[in-house]
Assembly symmetry: C2
Homo-oligomer: 213 residues x 2
DNA sequence: TAGATTGTTAATCGATTAACAATC
DNA sequence: TAGATTGTTAATCGATTAACAATC
């Protein structure tokens, strides 16, 4: 009865499937074959069928996949209907932008608290939430039990605050600090986002393209 | 004389090597072996040596790698000293945060112009740059010839604006819109950043972890 | 020289693609 | 039923790991 382990490449493709299926649904598309979806997404039909069949047979031979149904199933797998409590640490430029720009609700999350160590911005609001001092973190966590934390803090502070948050029950980090959080605790999930690395990759690919010309 | 093609996994690891080496240099570490670096980064020593040898032999048998030298070489490969002109389209929450939070200079880029279609914010400044109207895009590009564009715009606008920018000479996109830019032009590079997908992946991994317990 | 560690080739592993029988 | 397309197994491809000779 134990579920097969899903490989990382498959997991990383799931949100993308979900997005494309939501778009298709909005376009009014009722059914789609693996071949058509493959063409749209720039994947192979084989890969799509393999990916979906990690979770079960969602299609119908001779017909394809029912867009709405498939979108709902993948949404369920991804947990879009969960309400995971999330706090955000560090309300600088990036922290505020993420708080107000990212739709947490659509991704099974609920942003319930924002914290910053800077007294000058404590008390002001972002995304309809007051920015609270770091000192109230412990009380807040024991009252509301957030499960995940977004880290928008300088790299020197990251490890220390992460450790503190783990002590307060945090089970997942969405880490935007310029630091690779690496925890040896298998119960805690880390998703590192390195915007700088992404820009550098673009830089590299661009000037390599130039050189070839 | 033709260079071997570097695989995507290797390219994606380069910025991370660069970061770790910069940190090591700051810590005052002079030399490092592939084994030590592997341990720090959570990779295998074999992989590190393979990766570096895509570009040439930077190490010395019996000694290891000279941290400062290696960092400089990788920086050169990545093009950190270039000054690629970059414009940013869409100065909402996210656009402004990226303009002020991301250090473009450190990544071989220079942010030289910000544009938005909203007249209410045109004329105001972010990251020491005035927000200009979309109408002045053509003039700006023919005068300053930016090579890359950051897209922080709604998904419906993305494809259209991307096409317009390609016409104006843009060769690379750092795309934050909820839309997978796919261009059939091999001269134009796209780096899609999907923050929502990243959060969903975290959600998925977190609640899968829970279920196992 | 002896010890250490690279550069590089060969072996393994895993992910993607191809093929096709099952079936709607 | 015939046609289409899935689910799934087998083949291929590419990336990672292991091994070791070269060499500082």
């Amino acid at each position: 009865m134990s579920k097969q382990i899903i490989s990382t490449p498959v997991i990383r493709r799931l949100p993308r499937y979900y997005r494309f299926l939501a778009d298709l649904e909005q376009e009014g598309v009722i059914r789609i074959s693996s071949g058509e979806l493959a063409q749209r997404m720039g994947l192979s039909a084989s890969q799509i069928r393999q990916d979906f069949n990690c979770f079960g047979g969602f299609g119908q031979q001779g017909y394809g996949y029912h867009v709405e149904e498939l979108r709902e199933i993948i949404g369920e797998i991804l947990g879009v209907h969960k309400k995971t409590g999330v706090i955000l640490i560090g309300a600088g430029n990036l922290g505020k932008a993420i708080a107000s720009h990212v739709d947490f609700t659509k991704r099974g999350c609920e942003l319930i608290g924002i914290f910053d160590s800077n007294p000058l911005i404590q008390g002001t609001s972002t995304a309809n939430l007051p920015i609270m001092p770091m000192e109230s973190l412990d009380n807040f966590c024991s009252q509301y039990h957030p499960e995940a934390a977004v880290l928008c803090i300088p790299k020197d502070a990251a490890q220390k605050i992460a450790d503190r948050l783990i002590g307060l029950g945090i089970k997942g980090f969405w880490n935007f600090s310029h630091y690779d959080l690496r925890l040896n605790n298998p119960d805690v999930i880390v998703e590192n986002v390195h915007l700088g690395d992404s820009l550098l990759t673009l830089s590299y690919c661009m000037h390599r393209n130039e050189e070839q010309a």
